[in-house]
Symmetry: C2
Subunit: 207 residues, 2 copies
């Protein structure tokens, strides 16, 4: 499936819809509508229909969507019907929090290796894993066919770590360091800036 020009906001919403559909399915609800999904996640019904339309025809006019089918379709679109092995670099507080973050595992992301440059951390347990030295990066990535990396190192080291991940074959990187990072064109980079979330709130408090 090669799809071009789908807005990133639509992809983020697909991820949100999939959570809502999962909850409906768990409650035993068989059929839903764009209106119900819209209410459940806080967007307009037209937005739900538009987002889904990027990926095909799912519902039946006048009947709505089968919850299980739509949920499966959305997960497939998001690439979440497989488990994704992930390597995490930087076992500080944030890295530690992410390693044990239930939300990743529930959505099919399995952290298969956690690396840190601090020798004092090497061999220490972190969840089901043990913190490894940086020179194990290549081995972990190749043995587990890892395509995704999470970078939670201090800003000054983030670009070097990203370069190493790319060198060893990682194709998608989630960067938490508040620093501009560059990657080759064939690598996807997503920067998580946690302050943006607070700024959406201050906007609402101020307006």
């Amino acid at each position: 499936m090669k799809i071009q020009k789908i807005p990133e906001a639509s992809i983020v919403r697909m991820s949100v819809y999939s959570r809502y559909l999962s909850r409906l399915d768990q409650k035993g609800i068989v059929t839903t509508s764009s209106g119900e999904i819209a209410d459940g996640v806080g967007v307009s019904p037209a937005q739900v229909r538009k987002d889904l339309a990027y990926f095909g025809e799912f519902g039946t006019r006048g009947v709505g969507y089968n919850v299980k089918d739509l949920h499966h379709h959305v997960l497939k679109i998001l690439g979440l019907t497989n488990e994704w092995p992930v390597v995490l670099v930087g076992a500080g507080n944030l890295g530690t929090a992410l390693c044990v973050y239930r939300g990743f595992r529930e959505r099919g992301f399995k952290i298969v290796g956690v690396l840190d440059s601090d020798p004092k951390k090497h061999g220490q347990p972190l969840g089901d894993l043990v913190i490894l030295p940086m020179d194990k990066m290549e081995e972990i990535i190749k043995e587990n066919d890892v395509k995704m990396g999470i970078v939670t190192v201090p800003s000054d080291f983030a670009q070097d770590i990203v370069n190493l991940l790319v060198k060893y074959g990682v194709k998608a990187i989630l960067n938490f360091a508040p620093r501009a990072i560059t990657v080759p064109e064939d690598v996807e980079l997503r920067n998580v800036d946690l302050a943006v979330n607070l700024e959406v709130l201050t906007f609402k408090l101020s307006s």
Copy 2:
């Protein structure tokens, strides 16, 4: 300023623009254009113009935007020309990481209190602060006129903590617990689901 119906995605982008404008300003660049901002942050020039147009007329046709002026306007729109006191509840790994997260302080968010229910943590230092018991919540909020709270407690406790924050006057809450939380209508809630970020990447890897 009371503004209605501005898409949240536009507000998030305003936050992103403000970072880019700050970088331009630091480099001593005086004038910019919607095209340059668009290139710098990875959206279309039309999107930049549309987002800014929600808030007024900023540029001069044929000349562009004055970097300092536009930066100040955007910060003002986002409510970031003041410092915001914030209380954080839950001094686990994620809470600890957020307490020392430079990105918050740089953007004017000052964590003035960190609370945890675990007596073993009480009195322990965390950055410039000391971890306090939950029963200090009211005092911290009222003394510092806190309007924002960050919740990093385990999912099962998140709703109770949110209820307490609301009771003591917090009007905007950033929740990291992967659990549906409800708030009264006059309180803003933003749920941070860190897995969404990975799912945008798997979509791109899969497509």
